[in-house]
């Protein structure tokens, strides 16, 4: 069974649009939050968003969009994209460069792409509204591929001429962790030699505000307080978007190309709560079993894990569930890994979250630091017994566990290692 390594990363996130700035934001615990102009209305209680800087994608017409210098993207490519397609396209270009891949390495039968996004509610709404008002004849022929769930894999697979496996994953906030997991399977089962794992979200009003209906968004008006996973005063998550690309390669490819890997992806596990469509199990049962399955699949012992990048989104129920899961998976086994949630800095990237945070872990492992959990003033008593680090540790972890959970009670745990 070939081993699988992370060899390239690309980031367009609220805390930076390249690996360098993302690494320094994580290390220095600098958040990416702003008062989001479309939310500054009396009837919208939520005010803060983890905004993407340097891009302008407010228009429903991609030809109005702007992006940072250095990315050349043709009209023909961008016309079928959602905003997160643009973010991920830029991240993809970064990842290709970072992994030192040539064009022929990207486009061949042994290289695939798995992606995850929630689609583009903004564009779905726009195109439907236009169809109902003006009739289908006045609708853009590309409205569908720009807006439905899957838009990310359609667009990137075509734009980069991917010839191997390609599909999308939809398990809400566990989606891109699932994409990562099954990309690992493609390589470790010898079906593909290289996989691009892509996460993306628009992170705009259409993508975030519907969660206000669930009362899961933070209504904090202070960007420094809005996202504070594990803090007793947390009041919901802060939404964010962006695009992240992680390059996975089998050991033969890593050796053949002579590249330095960020870390190894050791394996993964998953389990479902079997409990509620939107509420996580109070005891974090599914999350715990997912972690146990990851340990079983890889032979890693809980005590070997030095850092857990938690799913914790800063919601009242979710953070407690995960804390309980972590207690049974680690504390009860005598293990005490450092734990933090980087969502305190980025906000919750929904479908993007898993891939984004695996990217953060890989970056931290290579660059030798462990990011702290920001914005905690009063630790939730439920977190007692857990080593939640409130500041960055200047050493990189050797073994990392990354948790992700999504609607329906889906849970994924991914293990990474660096010798």
């Amino acid at each position: 069974m070939p081993r699988v390594f992370i060899t390239g990363l690309g980031f367009v996130t609220s805390i930076g649009n390249d690996a360098e700035s993302v690494a320094s934001s994580l290390r220095e615990m600098r958040h990416g939050f702003e008062l989001y102009p479309p939310f500054q209305k009396p009837d919208i209680a939520c005010k803060v968003v983890g905004t993407i800087k340097g891009f302008s994608t407010d228009s429903v017409d991609p030809e109005d969009w702007t992006w940072p210098a250095g990315y050349e993207i043709k009209r023909e490519t961008i016309r079928s994209m959602a905003p997160h397609g643009l973010f991920a396209h830029c991240a993809f270009l970064q990842a290709v460069k970072d992994a030192r891949l040539q064009e022929a390495d990207v486009s061949n039968r042994d290289t695939g792409l798995f992606a995850a996004s929630g689609g583009s509610p903004m564009l779905t709404y726009y195109h439907h509204d236009r169809m109902l008002k003006l009739g289908p004849a006045r609708c853009s022929p590309l409205g569908i591929v720009a807006s439905i769930v899957g838009t990310l894999n359609f667009n990137l697979t075509a734009a980069f001429r991917i010839q191997g496996a390609s599909t999308g994953f939809s398990s809400a906030c566990a989606s891109s962790a699932h994409a990562m997991a099954y990309a690992f399977e493609e390589i470790s089962r010898g079906r593909q030699k290289r996989m691009f794992v892509v996460g993306g979200e628009d992170g705009n009003l259409g993508a975030i505000l519907p969660f206000a209906g669930m009362r899961t968004l933070s209504n904090q008006t202070d960007p420094n307080l809005a996202s504070r996973p594990f803090d007793a005063g947390r009041d919901g998550f802060v939404g964010t978007g962006g695009g992240v690309v992680v390059v996975l390669e089998g050991e033969d490819e890593v050796a053949r190309r002579g590249v330095e890997a960020y870390c190894e992806m050791l394996g993964w596990g998953q389990a479902s709560d079997g409990y509620n469509v939107a509420i996580s199990h109070p005891d974090g049962t599914g999350s715990r079993i997912a972690m146990e399955n990851a340990f079983a699949a890889t032979g890693v012992a809980p005590a070997q894990v030095e850092y857990v990048n938690a799913h914790a989104t800063s919601t009242l129920i979710g953070d407690v569930s995960e804390a309980r899961a972590l207690r049974s998976a680690f504390t009860d086994k005598g293990a005490r890994p450092a734990i933090s949630s980087t969502k305190a800095l980025t906000g919750h990237g929904l479908s993007l979250a898993g891939a984004m945070e695996v990217g953060f872990c890989a970056l931290a492992m290579r660059r030798g630091f462990t990011p702290g959990s920001a914005h905690i003033t009063h630790l939730d008593p439920e977190c007692e017994g857990l080593n939640i680090i409130r500041s960055t540790i200047p050493q990189g972890p050797k073994v990392v566990l990354k948790n992700s959970s999504g609607f329906g009670g889906a849970n994924v745990a991914i293990l990474l290692g660096r010798s």
Binding site: R75, E76, A137, R138, S140, P141, I144, V145
Partner: protein, 323 residues
């Protein structure tokens, strides 16, 4: 999910002539719709919407096509004639063609059925098509691309005196190509040790293209067809030769009908080699006659069907819907 080519997106509604007065609101909407087109495109569209004068239509259509063509290919659109091909020359794929159509529909306030789009292969096809829609004329037959086998089968002239390798015929004219091989029998003596294509033969080639137009593109009367053995040369005026043509040169020939009235058809013709003018003829007049179309469906309709069949085998507007 349905295939948009199959579904009747245009609705096939009859084109509503611009009867509604052009309000300031309309102008604002038009400006927004054409915001990425040249100012002259917008001006032409305003004039069209105000007056209904179809003369403004080509500027609108070309302006809209230009807006969707990648910037580095736009110069082609400026210099080239109506035979510029949408897919091969301008890189316009079927989805872009739909974007063009939707914008044209919006701007000119007309409705285009998908079936009508499939045979639009050149800029000229598009202009003619829109013009017919606006004027309420029957739609022209699409441009037919004729390989040498087809040309040989319909032409009264045969090798070694046939000077067309390939041709395309539309309702507005015909284009063809001929490569001077150097093996042509008359080059042995024209001239001694210096093979030059005779100007008279170049005129002959233009005449042959005009014959092909009469047989494949010209309008006929019901139940009649132009008899291939009724067509003869009658006269030629305003001929100028600009460039010697020698073996290896590829002649690009074009003819356009100027007048057609039984029994005479007059064409203007030109031959280029690359971008260089080689020969022009202001008037080439042929005589022709109608015959009973005993095999009319095979010759006219059949040819049109062959064109359609070809189009469906390799349709220029095949929308790639893998959904």
């Amino acid at each position: 999910m349905s295939d948009p080519v199959q579904s009747n997106l245009g609705g096939g509604k009859p084109f509503p002539l611009a009867t509604k007065p052009f309000a300031p609101d309309d102008e604002a909407a038009l400006r927004e719709a054409l915001k990425r087109c040249s100012p002259s495109t917008f001006e032409a569209a305003v004039q069209f919407r105000k007056t209904g004068n179809a003369d403004h239509m080509p500027a609108v259509v070309i302006g809209v096509i230009e807006r969707f063509v990648e910037p580095d290919l736009r110069t082609k659109l400026k210099d080239a004639g109506d035979d510029l091909r949408l897919i091969e020359d301008l890189g316009i794929d079927s989805l872009t063609m739909m974007e063009i159509v939707i914008l044209v529909e919006d701007v000119l306030q007309l409705s285009i059925n998908n079936d009508e789009l499939r045979n639009l292969r050149t800029v000229g096809d598009v202009k003619t098509f829109i013009d017919c829609k606006i004027r309420g004329l029957p739609l022209p037959r699409p441009t037919k691309f004729l390989p040498i086998e087809h040309i040989g089968a319909v032409m009264p002239v045969q090798p070694p005196f046939l000077f067309l390798n390939e041709a395309s015929v539309s309702s507005t004219g015909a284009n063809g190509k001929y490569k001077i091989t150097g093996q042509e029998f008359f080059l042995q003596g024209h001239f001694k040790d210096n093979p030059v294509m005779p100007a008279s033969i170049m005129l002959e080639a233009l005449g042959q293209l005009a014959v092909l137009f009469l047989l494949e593109g010209a309008p006929t009367e019901p139940g009649k067809m132009i008899g291939s053995n009724t067509i003869f040369f009658t006269g030629c005026e305003g001929v100028r030769a600009h460039r010697m043509c020698k073996p290896g040169d590829i002649l690009t020939l074009s003819i356009k009908p100027k007048r057609m009235k039984m029994p005479l058809a007059t064409f203007e013709g030109a031959i280029r080699v690359g971008q260089e003018k080689a020969v022009i003829a202001e008037d080439i007049t042929l005589t022709f006659a109608f015959v009973e179309s005993t095999v009319a469906p095979a010759s006219i309709e059949g040819a049109a069907q062959a064109g359609n069949g070809e189009a469906s085998a390799n349709p220029p507007l095949r929308v790639a819907m893998n959904a």
